[in-house]
């Protein structure tokens, strides 16, 4: 089947002129760099390790005020937040669980199939119920940016901070920016040690964005908040459900570290 000759090469004067004007369409090199930075790939991709996490912490703090960037590159913030809270949790927690129970999987299945509900209950009461307010239809793998984050990536992210902040007014990304802002409240509450306020913020986010793009990140923060509150049972239940659904998530190892959960055995070759 022969293809028609393109207007670009064989059209009339006006057609050609119009189409040729699009030949100048090209992004700036800075735009690509900003995207790489937002993905946590600004410089190089480092693997997950506690030492990398520790090294990244100052950069993460520096990026904490950046708005969109820290959530798009959620591995930078989320992973560090989780690991950063590990000591707190371990100081109040029971010995690590080493099993992923079928009950937890069932819990996750119920949570996954739930539809958005009305106003969330108060947080003071039953932690398990609180965790079930998370109604993401499927807990998906978060962005792959680097599990417990890379220092170089974080620094690159911080370097591009002003541009990243400017993303929020874009019509196409406004919903994402709003969701990020909603998670900001939870993150800030966690940073100040206020787990109840963090959970309220997460409930609000779940109501506003039941199918939001940052469901996994919200789940990670909820696990952390529950753990910080000392509600290890609920935190573990939610973590196990998350790990069952997304065993390869970049957050997985950090969550296991946080709750002292055993890692799965590698698949047989």
């Amino acid at each position: 089947m022969s293809e028609p000759r393109r207007f670009l090469n064989d059209g009339g004067g006006l057609e050609q002129s119009l189409l040729r004007s699009a030949r100048d369409d090209r992004p700036s090199p800075a735009a690509r760099r900003r995207t790489l930075a937002a993905l946590g790939l600004g410089a190089s991709v480092l693997g997950a390790s506690a030492t990398a996490t520790a090294a990244a912490s100052p950069a993460v703090k520096a990026a904490a005020s950046l708005g969109l960037l820290k959530w798009i590159g959620v591995g930078i913030a989320g992973g560090v937040l989780v690991v950063g809270a590990a000591e707190v949790v371990h100081s109040v927690s029971s010995p690590p669980s080493t099993t992923i129970t079928s009950a937890a999987i069932d819990d996750h299945a119920r949570a996954s199939s739930a539809t958005p509900r009305g106003p969330a209950r108060g947080l003071g009461a039953v932690p398990v119920d609180t965790s079930k307010e998370l109604v993401s239809p499927v807990i998906e793998a978060p962005p792959l940016v680097a599990a417990p984050a890379a220092a170089a990536s974080s620094i690159a992210a911080a370097t591009d901070a002003p541009r990243a902040r400017s993303l929020s007014p874009s019509p196409a990304s406004s919903a994402l920016a709003d969701e990020i802002a909603a998670l900001d409240g939870a993150r800030e509450a966690l940073a100040s040690g206020d787990s109840s306020r963090a959970l309220r913020a997460l409930d609000a986010r779940d109501r506003a964005f039941p199918r939001g793009a940052l469901g996994p990140e919200a789940t990670v923060l909820r696990i952390e908040a529950l753990a910080l509150r000392g509600d290890r049972a609920a935190a573990t239940r939610l973590a196990e459900a998350f790990l069952a659904a997304s065993p390869r998530s970049p957050h997985a190892s950090a969550i296991r570290t946080l709750l002292g959960l055993a890692a799965p055995e590698p698949a047989a070759p």
Partner: protein, 212 residues
């Protein structure tokens, strides 16, 4: 949900769930996790390196204003990063383009809502500029946007890939996950519509010139 009429590709089936039972503690899985993260990061980096320009150009030509193209491109790759495990190796470009189509469609709807409030502009401008005037690339580019805005998205996608990206029909079929016959018919309709709009502009311009 994807609109099959647009030739959009829904997210690939979810990755197999690893519901393996209890495991003994140890460092090997953590090491494996780090290796996975590195591999995925490298793949994502490769995607950006290979496809960023194409996606940015496509977003512009699918109707995203220049001022929003950077943000929308970033949004596309954010989605890709979240779905990376589901993207079949070798099918990255179709996934990214289908995501770009969604993002551009959302942006277009958002812009239309703003237009309804502030303006009453749905048709391309009435008069066609002289070829000399089109030396002004910005004006020509803005006019092209207006003409392309008049095409339905499913036609626009095929038109842009063929006329501007200069992809062969077979590759367009691959990118859009459409039968090649569908691509051919959409291309034919898109080209006819494009010419009709241009002809109308020329006619109006001649009419206005005659009255002057």
């Amino acid at each position: 949900m994807g609109d099959p009429g647009l030739g959009l590709i829904d997210a690939a089936p979810s990755r197999a769930r690893d519901l393996a039972g209890p495991a003994s503690a140890g460092s090997i899985p953590i090491v494996r996790g780090a290796a996975d993260a590195r591999a995925e990061g490298a793949r994502l980096r490769g995607l950006v390196d290979d496809q960023y320009d194409f996606i940015w150009r496509s977003l512009r030509r699918l109707g995203v204003p220049e001022g929003d193209a950077d943000d929308c491109a970033q949004q596309v790759f954010l989605v890709a990063s979240r779905k990376l495990g589901d993207i079949v190796v070798g099918c990255e470009r179709p996934f990214l383009f289908s995501t770009a189509l969604r993002v551009a469609s959302d942006a277009r709807r958002s812009r239309s809502r703003r237009r309804e409030v502030f303006e009453d502009v749905d048709e391309p401008r009435d008069s066609a500029p002289d070829p000399e005037q089109l030396a002004d690339q910005k004006r020509a580019r803005a006019l092209l946007d207006e003409v392309l805005d008049s095409l339905p998205m499913e036609l626009r996608a095929v038109f842009v890939l063929y006329e501007l990206e200069e992809l062969p029909s077979a590759e367009i079929a691959e990118v859009l996950a459409l039968p090649i016959g569908t691509v051919a018919s959409r291309l034919r309709r898109a080209r006819e519509e494009f010419q009709r709009i241009i002809a109308r502009m020329k006619a109006r311009d001649a009419f206005d010139g005659g009255r002057r």
